[in-house]
């Protein structure tokens, strides 16, 4: 994967137009899941994905570090998602079920538990456990301090465990 990504990034950097499609296909699946844990609606996720890849396209000639490209892409995407989230939910509060009416509601205990987490905690959970992203990279992407990220993870785990164990 890393070698393949490295080669694609090199082609994108060289100005090869189809290479950007390859880059998209290599990165979009993971990005989609990460954004979903934060926004929790497909419509919003697709809007953010479009915006993030457009921004990446605008700076494609400057991409030269394969290690930083996925991190960079997710950083862009998270910032776009935050803006989107602020537009949808001007008052920052954990999303209640009513708040996501008309959207695809998760089924099952884990999904219910995730919905009861705050979006920021959900995002950190998704990045850490879903994307296998390191704490340092999460800090870079979210702009938060390491202690904050760890607190969010701890809180998310506790809440998830509570819901799974006791169903509340």
């Amino acid at each position: 994967m890393d070698d393949e990504l490295k080669a694609v990034v090199a082609r994108v950097h060289a100005g090869e137009e189809p290479a950007f499609d390859d880059l998209y296909h290599l990165t979009v699946r993971q990005l989609y899941k990460t954004l979903y844990t934060y926004l929790m609606t497909r419509e919003d996720v697709e809007d953010v994905v479009q915006e993030a890849y457009l921004k990446l396209y605008q700076v494609r000639r400057k991409l030269d570090d394969t290690r930083s490209v996925p991190v960079y892409l997710r950083t862009i995407a998270i910032n776009c998602a935050r803006r989107k989230f602020r537009r949808i939910h001007p008052v920052r509060a954990p999303i209640e079920e009513d708040d996501v009416s008309g959207t695809e509601t998760m089924k099952g205990v884990v999904r219910e538990a995730l919905q009861k987490l705050s979006p920021a905690d959900r995002l950190v959970m998704g990045l850490f456990y879903g994307d296998q992203t390191s704490i340092q990279d999460i800090c870079r992407m979210t702009g938060e301090k390491e202690g904050t990220v760890k607190s969010r993870l701890s809180r998310a785990r506790e809440r998830l465990r509570e819901v799974i164990d006791h169903g509340t």
Partner: protein, 486 residues
């Protein structure tokens, strides 16, 4: 905290396993990118056009006055810098920045007045003075250019004044303001060369029977010089005696006299002696090319009281007029305009005892100065050899000598006679001027060093009213200059 917390990883992956990007997302992303590419291309085209237009305009403006009357871009930039400096000066100078600038640049009071009287703002006034000063141009010409709508930058370019020149002048003004702020009196403003009239106020530092020094300027006291103290005549001996008791001040109205070797002497026309410096403004000179302004000083003009007096002439000399119904002396000087019914513009010599005159006087301090005398009695032509002036001696005398100096402002000349005495001769409207071939010529044709034969009558002030002047050497000189080609 590590990623090997498999329980949570599996839990999350399991729940999100059916969350996959839709098939249409890629085409949406591509469409978005394509739209953006088109948008960027259009934006770049538009920006490029704007940039090219700006560059072309800038390039063109450097050589062509694309800013209309403001001139080229460098001229506009220079003007902006100059205006900024002038504005700064205006702010720092506080009261009357134009006058202070004039003083610092040693500009004549007339010039400053011209600017003050114009419709220019104080900032523009300061700039006009500086440009005129640096270009050696009359400020009136600068104002004319400005009135045509030209920007300062273009005016500066036209008059060959650089931004550096303006900067230097502004520094000079600032330095002068600083000096003044330290309580030092500014040096007397030295008049420029555009006029012959001079007015100086200040302390009397020396006096003799023929010379007086006021504010470091020495004036020649001629027989015609009027000396006044508290409205009455005073002699040089009395002034000298007063000086022994303490400081005395004076306002001197004089005339610059340039002789053939280009040295300038100052001839005092009126000396007004004062006890205190209150009435004597800071030393100030004025060069006034025009005879229209009878009032010697701008500052005095500001407080002067103009009046119109009418009456019969009871006393008249070359420098003083008395009319019935008005108790004060009215001073006549070179700037006094005299008009007579039937003769038009004439001179002081035309004022006779008993005539009814209307006098426009200006009160300055305690001195009434005649700006204009209108003689209501019609002019009657008399025999040129007849003695018209009842105040003069009746004898008509003939002198021979050489012209020593010419004073166009009061139509008089000084002649070194063959008996080696210097006499003042006044040419009047009735004086006959002839050359050796008995052809008439104008006063302007007279030249220094010409040998002349003059018949005339001696006035009470010992000057001679010319009846007939005949040159015994060539008078065929270039009018006005005296050394022109034939």
């Amino acid at each position: 905290m590590e990623h090997n917390d498999r329980e949570y990883t599996d839990m999350l992956n399991n729940e999100l396993k059916d969350i996959e990007p839709g098939a249409g997302l890629h085409s949406k992303v591509r469409d978005g990118i394509a739209r953006n590419v088109i948008h960027m291309r259009r934006r770049n085209t538009a920006l490029g056009a704007v940039v090219i237009a700006v560059i072309l305009t800038m390039g063109l403006s450097a050589v062509t006055p694309v800013f209309g009357r403001n001139g080229t871009l460098p001229q506009v930039i220079t003007a902006m810098a100059a205006e900024r400096q002038a504005k700064k000066i205006s702010k720092t100078q506080g009261k009357s920045p134009v006058e202070q600038t004039g003083t610092a640049l040693q500009t004549s009071v007339t010039t400053v007045k011209t600017v003050s009287d114009s419709a220019l703002s104080e900032t523009d006034g300061v700039l006009a003075l500086v440009i005129a000063n640096k270009s050696g141009t009359l400020v009136a010409d600068v104002l004319k250019l400005r009135a045509t709508g030209l920007g300062w930058g273009r005016i500066m370019a036209q008059l060959n004044v650089s931004g550096r020149d303006i900067g230097k002048a502004m520094s000079q003004v600032k330095a002068a303001a600083k000096t003044k702020g330290q309580g030092e009196n500014p040096k007397p403003a030295v008049s420029n060369t555009d006029g012959n009239k001079i007015v100086v106020n200040g302390e009397i530092t020396g006096v003799s029977t023929t010379l007086i020094t006021v504010a470091a300027k020495t004036f020649v006291i001629a027989p015609t010089t009027q000396l006044k103290y508290q409205g009455k005549a005073i002699t040089t001996t009395e002034i000298a005696a007063k000086l022994l008791t303490g400081k005395f001040y004076a306002t001197v109205q004089g005339t610059k006299q340039v002789n053939t070797i280009n040295t300038t002497t100052l001839l005092a026309n009126v000396i007004i002696v004062q006890d205190t410096a209150e009435q004597a403004n800071p030393s100030n000179e004025q060069a006034n090319p025009s005879n229209e302004q009878a009032n010697p000083s701008n500052e005095q003009a500001a407080v002067s009281n103009e009046q119109q007096k009418r009456g019969k002439v009871t006393v008249v000399t070359a420098t003083v007029l008395h009319i019935d119904g008005f108790a004060n002396d009215i001073i006549l000087n070179a700037d006094t305009k005299v008009e007579q019914v039937g003769a038009g513009t004439t001179n002081i010599a035309a004022i006779k005892l008993g005539q009814t005159v209307q006098v426009h006087v200006i009160l300055s301090g305690t001195t009434y100065t005649a700006q204009q005398v209108h003689i209501e009695d019609a002019y009657v032509k008399t025999d040129t050899t007849a003695n018209e002036n009842q105040t003069t001696n009746s004898a008509v005398t003939t002198w021979q000598g050489t012209i020593a100096a010419i004073f166009p402002l009061n139509n008089s000349i000084t002649v070194t006679t063959d008996a080696n005495s210097l006499l003042v001769f006044r040419i009047t409207a009735t004086s006959v001027l002839q050359n050796a071939s008995h052809k008439s010529f104008l006063f302007a044709n007279l030249a220094v060093d010409q040998k002349v034969t003059i018949t005339g009558t001696t006035l009470t002030d010992n000057s001679v009213e010319v009846v007939k002047l005949t040159t015994t050497t060539s008078t065929s000189v270039n009018p006005g200059k005296g050394k022109g080609k034939h």
